[in-house]
């Protein structure tokens, strides 16, 4: 019965799609067209979405409405990783800003 669980096809498609997208977005940001900051804001929207999903599942867990335990733990893991990613991006941006501000005299 475990034989049909072969996610290899799905995995290969994911790995082939994700890098090309992110590379394209980075190229768009580097062109200083002004669209880059909007992308950052939509990323924060996604983070907000993940956090509220986690909160909903946490409420379900304590009220006994949770069907799958792993739904909550996975949502928590995803939102914390997404938060770390956002923080990493923020830190890099601030670091770059400070570096530019030091470029005087």
């Amino acid at each position: 019965m475990t034989v049909p669980i072969s996610a290899i096809a799905g995995l290969s498609s994911v790995t082939s799609v994700a890098p090309t997208q992110s590379v394209a977005e980075t190229a768009g940001t580097a062109s200083t067209s002004g669209a880059g900051f909007a992308n950052v804001l939509s990323g924060i929207d996604n983070l907000q979405q993940l956090q509220s999903t986690t909160n909903d599942l946490a409420v379900k867990a304590v009220t006994g409405d949770l069907d799958d335990v792993h739904d909550y733990t996975i949502a928590a893991a995803e939102s914390s990783t997404a938060l770390e990613l956002t923080a990493a991006v923020r830190n890099k941006a601030v670091e770059a800003f400070n570096e530019i501000m030091r470029m005087q005299a």
């Binding site: 019965m1 072969s6 996610a7 799905g10 994911v14 792993h70 739904d71 893991a77 990783t81």
Partner: protein, 132 residues
Amino acid sequence: MTIFGAIGIASTGLTVHRKWLDAVSDNLANVSTVRPTSEAAFRQKYVVAQEITGGDGGVQVAGVLEGSAEGRLVYEPTNPLADEEGYVRYPDIDMSSQMTQLIMAQRGYQANAAVVDRAKETYQAALQIGRN
């Protein structure tokens, strides 16, 4: 949600194995459920898994098949449910097959949980790139 693709796929595997565990648990709980011969026996449940086509992929439960309603007739004249000839109907559940499926479902669940852990570690390793 392609950013956490591996975690999403493993999550579908976790759900399917949880449902399989539920089915095995139901079968084992009803292994001694006696019915009179005039009624159908408890029907063993089989979870049918199916791959998800499109999107990130993964696996889902296509449906639940049920085993034979005939069961097996056992001579138990003292049982209050016995018919005039003294027979009752037991479900035809193979205990050793159920225990084997229990192990497969448990190990499959654990394997998918391990994938979630490893994927999270991998994504966090990506966050360390360029730090310091």
